[in-house]
Structure formats: structure tokens, C-alpha cells
Amino acid sequence: MMKGAAMLVDDFLAHSATLRPEKTACVCDGKRLTYGEVNDEANRLAHALLDSGLQRGDRVAIFLPNGSEAVVSVFGVLRAGGAFVMVNPSTKQEKLAYVLNDCGATKMISAGRPAPDAPGGAFAAQCAPVKDGMAAAGPTFDLGPGLREYPAVAPPRRCIDIDLAAIIYTSGSTGRPKGVAVSHLNMISAANSVVEYLENVQDDVILNVLPMSFGYGLYQVLMAAKVGGTVVLEQSFAFPYRVVQHIEEEGVTGVPGVPTVFAILLQLRDLKPDSFDSVRYVTNAGAALPPAHVPRLQQLFRKAGIYSMYGITECKRVSYLPPDQLAVRPASVGRGMPNQDVAVVDASGNPVAPGEVGELVVRGSHVMMGYWNQPELTGQVLRPGRYPWERVLYTGDLFTVDAEGYLYFVSRKDDIIKSRGEKVSPCEVELAIYELPDVQEAAVIGVPDAVLGEAVKAVVVPAEGAELTEADILRQCARRLENFAVPSVVEFRTSLPRTSSGKISRSALRAEHERKEG
């Protein structure tokens, strides 16, 4: 049946499985699956989902660490005509419930908790019904051996390319994550553009240390499937030398990362000069590479082109800097990727002159359909475009553009913090801290950090007479927030600076921090 172009995201997998069933699709913890195997498993999962009542467009949450189970789950849900919602495995109960409830998930695929000392964190993934954000009654089944009774052939196709394929949650400035709803067409379009400029081919072996809940991590899997390449999945970057070994053993050709990943690699002292000679490209996104790291990174990856990139979840990717431009304009995040228009505009929507600051606007078929359940917020960022029927994306990010069309990031219009390449909502952290009765006021800001990009700093005013310690704040945050959102620095004060309208001023706190730390 697979002849022409991919129309649905799971066609990426079907095409590669038809053309090269024996080719390795993914490697994780020594476990290897071929395209044929992933495709068969995805089909079996799809049948099981349909059998348990999944309807076209139903959301299925995937609460799994990186691994073959997560890959099979993504494609299995799509194959059944559902939409997947990846949830970061370090998400805590309350936020998980919020996400499940917000997206209206009817099922969740999750890991039975591994025994802490189990080798490689072995677990069995299982699919269970959920309703209103909580576990619900109904059939539960295990993936893997639990699906053997189902056929390995694809169920009848039900979706078209403008159907919902996924909801990707990202931190919002209000404190609650917002669900970026994307269609098959959105994802295929973004993957096509990225594969085009990175020149991915079936011989590529792509390393993925980024969580698949992060758009950047998810697309490594989709891009590999599109070109029939191999993705090497890592569950964490805690043991960087283990990852270096995998790069050597698997002959990794593509290394996508965020500045924190590269900062850790640069701390390693005993790397052989040829450790990374198989690598043909390195990509950075999530936040800008510190300029001092660029030449050192180029020494480390001596045969690779380094791509500096910029994107937001709402359209996946916007721009890339071709490697030969890195030395020429190291501060730029490049030009728009193929098949898309970008502009930097003033308050009335007109393009600004080179060097002037404006908001970045993006036009293309990769732009999301909207925020799930949030028509008002959607209306604020998707606004009328060139034609009466289209909407373009106002990114909320301020940029300048040079005379040759290269883009330079200036700042965000809101206070979102970028730590380890992930977005952290200061509001969300503040709300967690405010739950402690001994807290009178709290403000959370991002402060420069050599490894994290920005570190999360909490400034807290204890209630009168209260005895509050740093450990109290951190323990509370760790209960509520993902690891990357837990503050690295806590400062106690008797008051917080305010704006003229009486609101707590995060920008004044940032300015104070800069003055103190220089």
C-alpha cells in the first residue's frame, strides 16, 4: 500500500519498514528493534487500542522514558487513529493529572516502576484507561508479549493529514502548561524541512539524549523513521561516558543537544581525539550556545558541521545557521528553514529595518493548529496572515535581522526561563512555593549559569516569625515540579521589589542579581 509520499506521520515508519524491514530502527540499552519489528509492534498495539474502544482523535498519554516502548507507542497510537501526548517521565502526580485532564486522555501508556536496582531500569509498559485525569475502570493490557494475539498488519486507515496527531505540552507564562495541538500535516511538514537542511539519509545514526516529551527529542525519532535511519535512545545523560561509548559503538552520525549537554561533554577530560569522528553533524537548540564553547565544541567534533538553531514548540523549528556561517556570525540563529516564511515585525505588523528589534512571526504548514482548549490564547498568537483564510504565528520572541536576513534572538516578551534547554514557567514554580503556609511572597527568575544556560532562582519572603529553610523550599518544589524546574538557588529576603503598579518586579530582581554577580 505504501507507494507515494507520507500523508500521515506513521507512514514514515510504514515506508521504512516496507523498504528496509531488516534495518535497525532504534537502539536503547542494548535492545535493538528493526523497522519490521517496530512496525509489527505498532500495528499490534493499534489493534489492542481499537479493541479497547479507542476512537479516531482520542488522546493517549505516553508516560514513558526514552526507549523502544515509547517509539512503538507513538506509532501505535497514530496507527489506531488516535493522537499521542508525551509526558516527561519526571512529571509529578499533580501535574500529570492536570495534563491528562486537560487533554481529555482516555488511556495512558506507562511503565510499571522499575525496581531501583533493576539493570537498565527494565520495566513492562502497560496501557490503562483514564478519565478526568485519574485512573478509570476498564481493560488494562501490557505491551510487548501482551500483544502477541493481535495481528501485525495495519488496521484500516481512518485519519487524514489535517487530523490531530499530537498534543505537546510546553510551559506557559500563566503557570499552567499549554497543549500545543499539531496535525499530521504540521509534523510531516516540520520533519521534511529539518531533514532537508540537515541532509539526513538512511545511513544516519541519530543520538537522542533529549526526552521524547520535548519536541526536539520527539522529532529525532520521527526524522530517523522518515529517512529510514537509526535512532540511539538514551534515558538520561547522567553517565556521559556511557553515551560517548554508544556514539563510538553505534557509529553515531548526528548529535542533537542543548547547551547543557555540550557543557557536560566539554567537562570530560580523557576523550580520545577520534571519539566523535563518526559524527557528521551536531545541532544545538533550546538556548544559545555560549560563544566560548563553540570553538571547543568544533575541536571535539572535528569532522562535524555544527548547526545553531532556533525553534518553539508552536511550530517546531524556525531557523538554522549553516555550519559555514558559525564563525562569521556566531551570535545568529540563522535563517528560516525551507518551506516557511519568517519576518521580524513592529507593533503594527510591518517588517522592521535591519538591526531594529521586533517580534518574530512565522508562516507555514508546520505552524500548530492551536492551543488545546484555549481559543483565546490561540487567538493571541495565531493572527491573520497574508490571505484571509490563513493564520500566522506570533512567537512572542524578540529578534533583530541583519541585511542578509540572518536572525538574532534578543529576548522573550514574557519571563519564561530556559534551563537545560527546557522552558520553565516562573509562575508555576512560584505557585508551588506559595503552597507552603510559611511563605509570604515568592518570585522566581532565571539567572545566568555556565552549564544550565539559566539557573532557576527563587527569592522568598517568609511569613513573619516563620522559620523557613532552603531545604523546605527545595523539597516542596521537588514534590510538585519536574527536576529541571526545581530551583538551584534560594534566597531569603524581608521584601521584594515592586513595579509602579505594585506587582512584584522580576526584572528588578534580575537586574539586582546581575549587579551583584557581575
Binding site: 538520561s236 553517565f239 556511557r242 547543557t260 552549564v451 531545604a471 523539597r475 527536576n483
Partner: protein, 87 residues
Amino acid sequence: MAKDKLKQFIVSRFMLGQSPNSLDDSISLVNAGIIDSTGIMELVGFLEEEFQVRMDDTELVPENLDSINNIMTYLQNKGMAGGQPFA
């Protein structure tokens, strides 16, 4: 004692004020969500400074670092844990 110092460090830095007794010596620090990638580099810095070892990159593997027991075995092999050979 070396193990007490080590547990004290891990608990105070990564376990947010919990009691050192709550840290099981055999638990995987990474799987249990106690330490992540930046945490491991901090742990390595602590071990190097406190126990005067120099960890080669090739030693930055779970077998040496992913539990209190593994770290203690590593330190003992390096002769740096003030070991108690007859204990």
C-alpha cells in the same frame, strides 16, 4: 567515616533535607530520580575534592557511581575510603 560523608553530601545536595537514613545504600541514584546529569558532575567534583581521587572519564559509569555501595566499592578499590579491610 567516608560513607557518612558521602551520604551527607548526597542527602544535603540532592535529597533536600531528608534524613541520611532514608537513603538506601543499594538504590540506583539515577533511576530513583535523586541525581541527574548535572548532579553526577557535582558528585564527581565532590569525590575528587573530598577523597583526593582523580576520576577518568572512562570511570564515569553506573558501576562506579550509581549507588552508595558502588561509589564505596570504587573508592575502596582506589584505596581512598579509609577502608576497613577486616570489617
